[in-house]
């Protein structure tokens, strides 16, 4: 009996189809941006063989991943408000009217669960907190398809309502105020975090997981030399950078040899998958010069290998658009100083439009294929 009348007990006049539609439109935009930027990030890190990402614009990955993460944080108030607005529908009676209605509700369940799951796991990932048994990357990636697929089905089902309310002003002042409050909450959430990538706002980023100028030599790091277990091997006086593979003459260069090659200085961002980024000044040898010196073909695929013995980002592939780019360096210095151990001493890769995890540190070998 209680269940039958429950939906009628939610009496707030702030709930309306138009408010739900408006919040739904905002969420549709935000989840589309998150899905697109997320896929871009995924396929930047795991490109199929035929896909050659361009190395420009230099800041493309920085912008897309900043949007992904800061946009995700700002989506939290939107999603909570939307769920509050439609909460009475959870208790509709009878719960299932027909097979079609059951299917519709199943997809809504997938959408709600997926949206909450993506925001919760994403927020915890940027705070380096992993209380779950699954791998974050796989779960966040595959759940994105489930969520966005359920969103597509939901939008098809609700399309008539979206069209009815898309260009109509919310007349009721209370409801308009409610929507403004939700937008202000999203804005405030972005304001206190965006500075970790939008450096002019860095002072305001009091709730961001990173400070863009906090870390060794004033730059954050994800993996330290200690965590990578390379503290001994990188200080070995017998260190050599090997250039091997499909080359005319293999090279074996000491650190002194590297510093005698033509040095170039570039400004490039280090842009992490977790959304923080900061531009630095890097000095070192162009990867292009090194491959040419060894006699590699211009369409070769270059692989840089770290001195780490294990780790999922020990090796990274640099395809022709990136290694032929004059901005791509094997860097020896950061902001005028010799690289700190945590920044990849003696040599690290730095390339434009590339996620931080693929800017391989502590490089011991460059393989040309």
């Amino acid at each position: 009996m209680i269940l039958r009348t429950l939906p009628d007990r939610f009496t707030s006049r702030l709930r309306s189809e138009r408010v739900a539609a408006r919040l739904g439109i905002w969420l549709g935009v935000s989840f589309t941006v998150a899905f697109a930027t997320g896929l871009f990030s995924h396929f930047t890190q795991h490109p199929p063989a035929w896909l050659l990402w361009p190395s420009r614009p230099v800041n493309l990955y920085r912008v897309t991943q900043g949007l992904h993460v800061v946009g995700g944080i700002a989506t939290v108030p939107l999603l909570l408000a939307k769920l509050w607005t439609v909460y009475p529908k959870l208790w509709q009676w009878p719960p299932l009217r027909s097979a079609g209605h059951a299917a519709e509700r199943l997809f809504v369940l997938l959408l709600v669960a997926g949206a909450l799951f993506q925001l919760v796991t994403g927020l915890m990932n940027i705070a380096y907190t992993y209380p779950w048994p699954f791998g974050f990357v796989q779960a966040h990636y595959w759940t994105a398809y489930v969520t966005y697929g359920a969103l597509v089905v939901h939008v098809v089902n609700e399309w008539a309502k979206v069209r009815r309310h898309l260009w109509t002003r919310v007349e009721d002042p209370d409801r308009r105020r409610f929507l403004t409050t939700v937008a202000a909450a999203a804005g405030l959430a972005a304001l206190v975090t965006a500075g970790e990538t939008l450096t002019p706002l860095e002072r305001l980023a009091v709730l961001a997981p990173r400070g863009p100028r906090i870390g060794p030599q004033g730059v954050p790091v994800n993996k330290t030399a200690l965590a990578a277990q390379v503290t001994g091997v990188i200080r070995d006086p017998a260190y050599r950078l090997a250039v091997t593979g499909a080359v005319r003459a293999e090279l074996s260069l000491s650190l002194a040899d590297l510093t005698r090659l033509p040095q170039h200085t570039v400004r490039l961002p280090i842009a992490c998958v977790e959304g923080w980024s900061v531009e630095c000044e890097w000095t070192g040898v162009r990867l292009r010069d090194l491959v040419r010196l060894a006699g590699g073909a211009p369409d070769a695929v270059v692989t840089v290998e770290s001195l780490e013995r294990a780790g999922s980002y020990r090796v990274s592939e640099v395809r022709p658009p990136h290694w032929n780019d004059p901005l791509t360096l094997l860097a020896l210095r950061i902001n005028g100083q010799v690289l700190d151990a945590d920044h990849g001493y003696p040599v690290r890769l730095v390339a434009p439009n590339r996620p931080g995890v693929m800017q391989t540190k502590w490089i011991g070998r460059v393989r040309v294929a």
Partner: protein, 205 residues
């Protein structure tokens, strides 16, 4: 057209489901996938509804509620806290890497909350009481309309121009944030001021 949408949506769901079954820990994933729904629908949402009922009953004046600005401040405070909670709790700190979660997040959150509190109080104080004769609130759910809906005349009614009361709210909020972080005025003053202006905008509609 409709069926193209359904087909595309189902294909994406199936692709994701297949990936989760083959490339992840399906049981652990399912626990979290269902768990977040239960946590929201059975815990968070009822708590918000209860808070809404309480807010509707507090205050008791004409309109029968806390007032617009305090309500908006609670919405902003609650959602921003949730959106940054894993960072604020900072359980991901690592001994070898002080650049991860480097800030004092308790203080950061307090700055935001202090700014919102002072902005809400200043807005409420500078807003004249609602018109007499506005109906008492009957709202029982969260963010109820009654109090929110009663339009105040603002300090304009007292002869104070709107820009002055707006400035008072922003400055008050900035100072409130500064009082939490006295060593950092360059962050606290603009942050608090902006938070105050967002709140003002929210409660103005």
């Amino acid at each position: 057209m409709r069926w193209i949408g359904y087909a595309a949506g189902c294909a994406l769901v199936a692709l994701g489901g297949h990936g989760l079954v083959t490339g992840s820990d399906p049981a652990g994933w399912a626990l979290w996938f269902g768990g977040v729904v239960v946590a929201h629908d059975a815990v968070l949402a009822p708590l918000v509804l209860l808070a809404g009922v309480a807010m509707g009953r507090l205050g008791g004046g004409p309109g029968g509620g806390l007032g617009r600005a305090p309500r908006a401040a609670l919405v902003l405070a609650g959602t921003v806290t949730l959106a940054t909670l894993p960072t604020v709790l900072a359980m991901g700190r690592r001994a070898d890497n002080p650049s991860i979660l480097p800030l004092d997040y308790g203080r950061g959150l307090l700055m935001v909350l202090a700014a919102l509190t002072v902005a809400a109080l200043t807005t409420r104080l500078t807003t004249a009481p609602a018109r007499p004769g506005s109906p008492p609130g009957q709202e029982t759910a969260a963010w109820g309309t009654a109090a929110w809906g009663t339009p105040g005349r603002g300090m304009a009614g007292l002869g104070v121009p709107g820009w002055a009361s707006r400035t008072a709210v922003a400055v008050g909020a900035g100072l409130a944030a500064w009082s939490v972080a006295p060593m950092d005025p360059a962050a606290a003053l603009p942050l608090g001021g902006l938070a105050g202006m967002l709140l003002l905008h929210a409660s103005d509609g």
